[in-house]
């Protein structure tokens, strides 16, 4: 099997095809600390892409409450236990365990990738576990960091991986990665509904359309990306937790690009389960109130530093600037700059497309409005 380099795990790994990196790679940063689980992102995606026959159960975007929520149910626990023990060399941030493709179980299953096919019922009841914390708050519990009783929201879409498990598993080569932006798509004409990809994708982001009997997945809103727009789930987010951008390797990082800046510059955003070996491109700012033991399993050993760095955000105008630019425009921000207390976003032509203050101005409105001759109350 060819060897490819995966900088998420800082080593070479096996992949059935040689590396053919796209010209640029679709990516996003999601700040888990700001999500309010309103599910606007889930609904906007459903309205746009999965409101058809056969797609009723699909949520290409879903937001689940950790630790108990999951769509499909228990996907993360199942994949983690199939993969078995996972070890890191913490000094070099190198993953020393097996990836899902390297794991001996893949071959034992007669498969290219270690995986499982969720049962029908596991796709239902998408809200099981929602807002459930790890335990009950007992009398006398006080809040410190990390929280002894915790939960957090995990926003999930397809990762448009560099080494997609879905693509690796498809015997028909019906899944392809676009040369122009790295977006991973299922060819709707070529797919024959074998569901090898559904079984292989550890994030369970390929779904079988029960009416057309072929598989479908998050399309990264490619018609929008082609027009310099961010995906629907990014721009619809009222919590303003998301931003899209192109991701590069650490050596080629462009620190003027918001995603590269957060991932490589400030190192506050990390891929989910890098040990799966997919080089997946949704990067998460880890929830800083959650015990680091749990987060190390999810995001690898770099999570401690990421949390530490994120805590500096209020004293770091540039980092603050990127977070303020989240949700500030529906356009794709190619570059950003912080000038005189404002964060400015630019498109590919260098034109300004967004400008936001680092600190929202405080406005004190008098109790009486002389124009309308009314009294304003701050309660209803």
């Amino acid at each position: 099997m060819p060897k490819v380099f995966n900088w998420h795990i800082n080593r070479e790994m096996e992949y059935p095809y040689p590396a053919t990196p796209p010209t640029r790679q679709f990516a996003a940063v999601f700040d888990t600390n700001k999500c309010i689980a309103c599910q606007t992102c889930s609904m906007i995606c459903k309205n746009a892409w999965t409101s058809g026959r056969g797609q009723e159960y699909m949520w290409w975007n879903n937001v689940e409450t950790k630790p108990y929520g999951g769509f499909p149910q228990g996907w993360d626990m199942k994949v983690l236990s199939l993969l078995g023990p996972q070890s890191w060399d913490r000094g070099t941030n190198t993953y020393t365990g097996m990836t899902l493709i390297e794991s001996a179980l893949a071959a034992a299953q007669g498969r290219q990738v270690t995986g499982y096919l969720p049962e029908d019922a596991e796709w239902g009841n998408v809200n099981i576990g929602e807002d459930e914390a790890v335990g009950l708050i007992e009398g006398g519990t006080s809040f410190g960091l990390p929280h002894p009783v915790w939960s957090f929201y995990l926003q999930r879409i397809c990762n448009h991986c560099s080494y997609p498990a879905c693509l690796a598993s498809c015997p028909r080569k019906a899944i392809y990665k676009r040369e122009e932006d790295g977006i991973v798509l299922v060819d709707q004409e070529r797919c024959r509904g074998y569901r090898e990809c559904v079984r292989a994708c550890p994030f369970k982001k390929v779904m079988y359309n029960v009416a057309t009997r072929v598989s479908e997945k998050c399309v990264a809103c490619f018609p929008r990306v082609e027009q310099g727009l961010q995906p629907f789930c990014t721009i619809g987010c009222p919590g303003r937790i998301r931003i899209n951008g192109w991701i590069h390797s650490p050596q080629e990082a462009d620190l003027e690009s918001p995603v590269d800046f957060l991932v490589h510059g400030r190192k506050v955003a990390l891929p989910l389960y890098p040990q799966f070996g997919l080089m997946n491109h949704i990067y998460y700012v880890p929830p800083i109130h959650v015990p680091p033991e749990y987060l190390r399993q999810m995001f690898g050993p770099a999570v401690d530093r990421a949390m530490e760095n994120y805590r500096q955000v209020k004293d770091d105008p540039e980092m603050l600037g990127v977070f303020m630019l989240m949700g500030a425009t529906d356009r794709w921000i190619e570059k950003f700059r912080v000038v005189q207390g404002e964060a400015v976003g630019y498109d590919a032509k260098g034109d300004e497309i967004a400008r936001v203050p680092l600190k929202e101005p405080v406005v004190v409105r008098p109790n009486f409005d002389p124009v309308l001759t009314v009294y304003r109350h701050n309660t209803m």
């Binding site: 001996a104 007669g110 796709w123 029960v210 009416a211």
Partner: protein, 332 residues
């Protein structure tokens, strides 16, 4: 055993089977010793349960799990299939029957897979690779699908049929009333745009079928392609743990991609069976090696089981002997 070990073992097995297929099939073709013959009848049956099938000799064809490429079938669920063939001078009809305790005729749920059966003929000269041909070795596949049969027998098995309590109030551009029916309530062009597979022209997404048998052309694993012209008819019936599936087509090939069976007294054929409840789909199937079918001549019935036993012994030797072979190698 590491992934390479498993793969190597599978490749070795496939190589031996291909060799068995080539020597047995090739020799039989060369020596004009057919495995079994199609019996002549003046009128072909249209039902797989018809007593007319009794006029054809039954041949038991051993099947082995596909282990040459990934995804592989690690354990066989259908070890053999019984084959009968009839012809009437115009058309050839083949009946495949095998035991399967579960009737898997639905595929409209994320975790349901259909049962299936297929026959493969070479299109180009010579015996192709038994794994659906190879580049330049064109094969013609007749693939019967239990879910297509169900769609034909009972009407398109829609979301409502899989989920009887299902209700959704509205879909974009839908007509009719909830819970709606495919395809009629989704026939507006705007509504069809939400059925991506269908609008892309994928034949698998077509709710209306004219035959439960899809005709394909292939040049190796992963290359099966729906033929422009579909000319194979068929019918499958499951009773008491047995599938009986018949295929029929004119002996004359209607186009270049179809196997021409007319005038060819001896034809190479291979068979495959899928068990849906074992999640068998695509390359995860059990298949036979190439056998010879004689159409339109008197035959001395060569016992097909003899070749089957030969293939099975060869397969078992390689499969079981491989670990010992590998263990002896100093690298491991």
């Amino acid at each position: 055993m590491g992934p390479t070990g498993f793969l190597a073992r599978g490749v070795a097995l496939a190589a031996v089977l291909a060799a068995v297929g080539l020597t047995t099939g090739g020799r039989v073709l060369a020596q004009q010793e057919p495995f079994y013959a199609a019996a002549y009848v003046s009128e072909l049956p249209t039902d797989p349960r018809s007593p007319v099938w009794g006029r054809a000799a039954a041949s038991e064809v051993p099947l082995i799990p596909q282990a040459g490429i990934l995804p592989a079938l690690t354990q066989a669920s259908v070890p053999k299939v019984t084959v009968r063939a009839l012809y009437d001078g115009e058309r050839l009809a083949i009946l495949m029957s095998w035991q399967d305790r579960t009737r898997d005729a639905l595929s409209g749920r994320p975790d349901l897979f259909r049962d299936g059966a297929a026959i493969m003929f070479p299109v180009t000269e010579g015996l192709p690779n038994v794994c659906m041909g190879a580049a330049g070795q064109v094969t013609n596949l007749w693939h019967w699908k239990a879910d297509w049969q169900e769609d034909i027998d009972k009407g398109f098995q829609d979301v409502v049929d899989h989920y009887p309590n299902f209700y959704k109030d509205v879909y974009p551009f839908v007509t009719g009333s909830p819970p709606y029916r495919m395809p009629q309530d989704f026939s507006a062009p705007e509504a069809q745009a939400y059925l991506a597979g269908l609008s892309a022209g994928n034949p698998l997404s077509q709710p209306l079928k004219s035959s439960p048998v899809e005709e394909l052309v292939s040049q190796g694993f992963g290359t099966a392609t729906h033929k422009a012209a579909q000319n194979v008819s068929g019918q499958g019936v499951w009773t008491d743990g047995t599938w009986r599936v018949m295929f029929s087509r004119s002996l004359k090939a209607a186009d270049q991609e179809a196997a021409d069976l007319q005038g060819r007294k001896q034809v190479a054929v291979a068979f495959a069976v899928w068990d849906g409840s074992n999640q068998e789909v695509g390359a995860r199937k059990q298949l036979s090696s190439f056998l010879t079918l004689a159409v339109g001549e008197e035959t001395n019935q060569m016992p097909v089981w003899l070749w089957g036993v030969f293939a099975a012994i060869a397969a078992a030797t390689v499969w079981l002997g491989w670990p010992a072979l590998v263990r002896r190698s100093p690298r491991e």
